[in-house]
Subunit: 233 residues, 2 copies
Amino acid sequence: MLNSELGVRDIVENPKSIFYLLNQEEKEELQQHISLSRYKKNEFIFKEGDKPNGFLLLVDGKVKIFKEGVGGREQIIRMTKPLGLIGYRALLGEETHNGSAVTLEESLICTVSSDFILNRALKNSDFSHKIISKLCKELGFSNARTVTLTQKHIRGRLAESLILLKDKYGFEHDGTTLRAFLSREDIANLSNMTTSNAIRTLSTFASEKVIAIDGRKIRILDANRLERISKLG
Amino acid sequence: MLNSELGVRDIVENPKSIFYLLNQEEKEELQQHISLSRYKKNEFIFKEGDKPNGFLLLVDGKVKIFKEGVGGREQIIRMTKPLGLIGYRALLGEETHNGSAVTLEESLICTVSSDFILNRALKNSDFSHKIISKLCKELGFSNARTVTLTQKHIRGRLAESLILLKDKYGFEHDGTTLRAFLSREDIANLSNMTTSNAIRTLSTFASEKVIAIDGRKIRILDANRLERISKLG
DNA sequence: TAGCTTTGATGCTATAAAACATACAGACCG
DNA sequence: CGGTCTGTATGTTTTATAGCATCAAAGCTA
């Protein structure tokens, strides 16, 4: 269920939002250039090759960003949680999107005009510094992923993905259930493996009592063990 | 053989250098914060985990940046040519280096103090904009690589690496010989495969008349065919 | 509620690539 | 000069994982 109460004000005034770095004047101007849109589950936000038409911030929901590879096989590059940015690489690098974005659940997205971002916000050095820092972090992540996805074996890759989901979305109130309910196919596409292998390996983890599975609900029973499996490759 | 004639002035006044974007005053100040150092072939510039101690620009030579993965197996993340930046992601993101940099041949590297970059250069919005654009491009490249290195088969990965070397370093005067003389091991580490498979596949390409090999000299005989092998995966 | 579609589970087979084993050529060195 | 080392080459074996087929369960829709 979406929190429809979230308005523009809340986004701008939330210290975790990138717009919090703007000064008062810029924030006011921002209001003229912002709009909110609602997306259903499994809806495309943009497609690989599209020209970016705004600066997107996820307000509520979850979004996957993926690239299509050999034979249309998709690889999930990144997942976004509320207040995360979507597709900003293409906008700021003045390129087309090199991946597609699809909602994993009903989502609320705020769009800011490219013009405001490029000609106003980026002139604010706090803002541009934050963008640089985000890009650096993401590049580091991407490089690390390249290595683990190519070098680790199936068990290591799956363990890493589960840890990644935990770090990004955290747990439900019980402290063990991942707050993300992906299809086996999405888990596979995140971990660079076939769906059957994702299913098979999840079952193995469950039989080893590292995790417990109940449909799409995954509970992490032994985080240390999972960490070890991931490290080991 | 290094071009030892290259001095600080040439770097600052070359339109292809990022420092060209600085204004006159900043350029003059830059001179106080810059130094040149010479590296022998196969020398480390920094190691994974090191704290960055300056903003590095390759003046002459070639450098590989790689990460160590499972069991010390290395994956080359990036290669640099003259006027390219090295290790700037870690400096600007205020993190430690997440890869190591090693010269592939004798090289000349210019170091600019972190202080000047962070407190002066980045305040220049042309400079910071250029940095953002470089980071965006590199992130796009990294994401694309993640997908191709995980999904393409050996032949496709090797073909892509050869094209990558061509695009980065170009050809010798004959118009076919790659201007990069890597060991088979480096080619393997660039293409995510074992050294034996790199050797084997290069031989196959040679027997198919796609390339010609003479020691470390590689001549591309049929660029279209190579492109097709790469695309096909 | 029945029928259809999608998702998840599991076994079997095929295969790409790693791992291993030699072998050889050239470089370097005491 | 022979010995060791390093890089390259090539054949053989092993293994991880993709690919395929089948079936069960769940979810959707008419």
